[in-house]
């Protein structure tokens, strides 16, 4: 069970900030494929992953990052801090 979080327009498009996901996905990319297969709103949010960033256990990483032992995955657009 992984906590999956969404921020900014990803959160708005999917319609919730956080959910628990039961998954056997080995990588972030596989998790994304599972989510896209669920419903149109997920497919829309993840249509172009080059426009997205991902953090695993609160560290920025890539979509090929492994999920073994991971507790929290977050998807969001490029950050606009400062």
């Amino acid at each position: 069970m992984i906590d999956v979080m969404y921020f900014a327009w990803v959160r708005e498009r999917i319609g919730l900030p956080k959910e628990k996901v039961e998954t056997e996905a080995a990588t972030v990319a596989e998790l994304v494929d599972e989510l896209k297969a669920r419903e149109e709103r997920y497919a829309a949010a993840f249509a172009d992953t080059t426009a997205l960033r991902v953090a695993v256990d609160q560290e920025l990483t890539d979509f090929d990052a492994p999920l073994a032992g991971v507790r929290e995955v977050a998807f969001f657009p490029p950050m606009t801090g400062g």
């Binding site: 953090a55 606009t80 801090g81």
Partner: protein, 149 residues
């Protein structure tokens, strides 16, 4: 090193004074302050800043630690707000103290470049006609490359 992520307003002048006061070890203090800028049409109602609680503090602290490893700094301060802000409100500030100005300036610019693109904040501009997420700019991403040379 002090990092604060908060929704409350902060007093830039008071923070800057407290940071710089009586430093006999650092001849140079640089501050940067980010302010909510109105849109070209002058119709910005408010800016909403979303962040990722938990990761935000960790990311900023990691960036500040990198700055401290890289330059001879005596101190670093980062304050960043989230929530609802109005035009003219201060969004965030960084301050760096160093024996020499070159280090204080470089570290402040480094912190800003990384906060801009690597700290989990997202800005949304709201006007009477609707809301829009601020898009990241290619030049902000490009600004990071100068630090990896």
């Amino acid at each position: 090193m002090k990092v604060r992520v908060q929704s409350a307003a902060f007093d830039f002048g008071a923070e800057a004074n407290a940071f710089a006061a009586g430093r006999k070890d650092a001849g140079a203090v640089v501050t940067f302050t980010g302010i909510v800028r109105d849109l070209a049409r002058g119709d910005l109602d408010r800016m909403e800043i979303e962040h990722y609680p938990g990761m935000t503090e960790k990311a900023i602290e990691a960036i500040a630690r990198q700055a401290q490893e890289r330059w001879a700094l005596k101190d670093v301060l980062v304050i960043h707000r989230h929530g609802v802000l109005e035009p003219g409100d201060m969004i965030m500030m960084v301050a760096t103290a160093a024996p020499h100005r070159v280090d204080a300036f470089a570290a402040a610019e480094f912190l800003m470049d990384y906060l801009k693109s690597r700290a989990p904040f997202w800005k949304k501009e709201v006007t009477a006609n609707g809301a829009q997420w601020v898009e990241s700019r290619d030049e902000d991403e490009a600004a990071l490359t100068r630090w990896s040379e």
